[in-house]
Amino acid sequence: MDPHELEKLQSLARRIRCHIVELLVEAKSGHPGGSLSGVEYGVSLYFHVLKHDPKNASWEGRDRVIWSRGHVGPLIFSLLAEAGYFPVEELMTFRKLGTRLQGHPTTRCPGIEVGTGSLGQGLSISCGLAKAFKMDEAPNRVYCMMGDGEMQEGAVWEAIMFAGHCKLDNLCAVIDWNNLQIDGQVESVIGLEPLIDKFRAFRWNPIPVDGHDIGQLVEAYETAAKTKGQPTVILARTVKGKGVSFMENQAGWHGIAPTVEQGRQALLELGPSEEELIHGMP
């Protein structure tokens, strides 16, 4: 990948992390761990791969992104704001009464295709979209952003079976494989392994990558787009809380917001320039 482009995406990733921290401090609640782990695959998708038009969110030719892991609002909304769906300043309304940026995303927010937040539903929705595009011979692609913990939901496996059976090669799922859920390590709660083999057995094309390596992620998205006769799953090995030392690999940072002091410490680590902050240093 072009080094100049890579640098641009990496810098955007840092800015998105700063937004996540800043808006969580302001909201006083929300989900930092899984938001920070998903920054690189989110940035790669929205700013390098996706066909979309933030000024015309309902453009028919757009690819569809379904955020099955709807709890990562801080990540989703930061990506959408940076892409130009709404002003970055609006991020500071997250979770407040009357906001378009609800605790879990809804169609009130431009760029959100469907409300999500109850885990295990997004892949079925994505299958329906992908099936419709196949029936219409339309070129649109469908991306389903999932967590590893939600793979414990039974309906996810119904959808995995359906997508493999129907050869939905216009569908690409991304799994944030950080191996942490609220109750602890995914492998000790209810283990998923051998996950790559499971996907193969269900007639999918699994691509394991380093989920913080933008080059690998872009390549995986491109491979998915070229794959025929099978849906692709990008298994993104990530670190929950990535980029903020005291949040990394801590299940406890799944669903609580940093205090002002913790937020300041996090931002000092991330090192934003003055204009990258929405309201300035907390």
Binding site: R64, I66, T106, T107, E113, V114, G115, T116, G117, S118, Q121, S124, I125, S126, C127, G128, L129, A130, K131, A132, F133, M135, D136, A138, N140, V142, G154, A155, E158, A159, M161, F162
Partner: protein
């Protein structure tokens, strides 16, 4: 007089074929019950627009969500027990919260499913679904009303649930009977009491009206196919003009159609009420008519409830 009978599910299958011919956007989803829901009639004619989802109702519901988001008009066909039993979260949090244009067809509603017994007799679907914002809930009384409800659902933008049954029921309405969502039809006018029917028990209500006529009781009969939005106007008018109401449904009386009527009555025009329906029990195996007797859904039961409610009215 004998009235010709046909299962309401046939109205579903035939309406789907009509819709399929006139609108390319119509797609139908099956969950291994394609013949029994009568979705096979559509599947045979339009195989490229029929999507088999297998025994996976929760997945089927959200495949419909995705299809609707791409401009299709999907009808999900399965048994009513599985609609609310397996796919409720999908209906609540995806279909209804985002107001998606998904049509849900719940077959085998009520105890008239018969021999299969309680596991397959949906008795709580209406109560459950009517508490969810954005959805329309319809329980047609016969073949034609089901057909018309399905044709209406396809025109309407937003989630719709239509419940129908397995067994043939008398065809009380005909092609020309008006169907307006949210508006009850006056079947028989009367001044002493109003019987408000929801669903395929209408013939029993008609028989009850005849029985009561012989006793000098003038009963109004309303057929109210739409549970949500409920026809407040007709209910209030009935309460004010007749002073007593009996509701009839093939469903648990707790939270169902009768409760929806009572919510209007107690707020706007309190009058004595009685509720014909399933009284907090599971269903059982048996012939549909035997079950109607056992569970108190016959014309004699309805007439009995009328006499009770009239005594209460008199005692006020």
């Amino acid at each position: 007089m004998t009235i010709k009978a046909k299962p309401t599910r046939d109205g579903y299958g035939d309406a789907l074929v009509e819709l399929g011919q006139r609108d390319e956007r119509i797609v139908v989803l099956g969950a291994d019950l394609t013949d029994s829901t009568r979705a096979n009639r559509f599947a045979d004619k339009f195989p490229e627009r029929f999507i088999e989802c297998g025994i996976a109702e929760a997945n089927a519901m959200n495949i419909a969500s995705g299809l609707s988001m791409a401009g299709k008009i999907p009808f999900v066909s399965t048994y009513a027990v599985f609609v609310v039993g397996r796919a409720l979260d999908q209906i609540r949090t995806t279909v209804c919260y985002s107001s998606l244009n998904v049509k849900i067809a719940g077959a085998h509603g009520g105890i008239s499913v018969g021999a299969d017994g309680a596991t397959h007799q949906a008795l709580e679907d209406v109560a459950t679904l009517r508490t969810i914002p954005h959805i329309t809930v319809i329980v047609p009384c016969d073949y034609q009303e089901t057909r018309k409800a399905i044709l209406w659902a396809a025109e309407h933008q937003g989630p719709v649930y239509v419940r129908f049954g397995r067994e043939p029921v008398p065809m009380v309405t005909d092609e020309d009977t008006p169907f307006v969502c949210g508006k009850a039809n006056l079947v028989n006018d009367g001044s002493d009491v109003t019987i408000i029917n929801n669903g395929p028990v209408l013939k029993e209500c008609l028989d009850a009206v005849e029985m009561l006529k012989g006793e000098g009781i003038s009963a109004r009969l309303l057929n109210m196919h739409t549970v949500k939005p409920i026809d407040r106007e007709a209910i209030v008018k009935a309460a004010r003009e007749t002073g007593a109401i009996v509701t009839v449904e093939e469903h648990q009386v707790m939270g169902g159609f009768g409760s929806a009527v009572a919510e209007v009555v107690v707020q706007e025009a309190p009058v004595p009420m009685r509720f014909i329906g399933i009284q907090d029990r599971f269903g059982e195996s048996g012939e549909p008519d035997e079950l109607f007797v056992a569970f108190g859904l016959k014309a004699t039961d309805i007439a009995g409830a009328v006499r009770e409610v009239l005594a209460a009215k008199k005692g006020r």
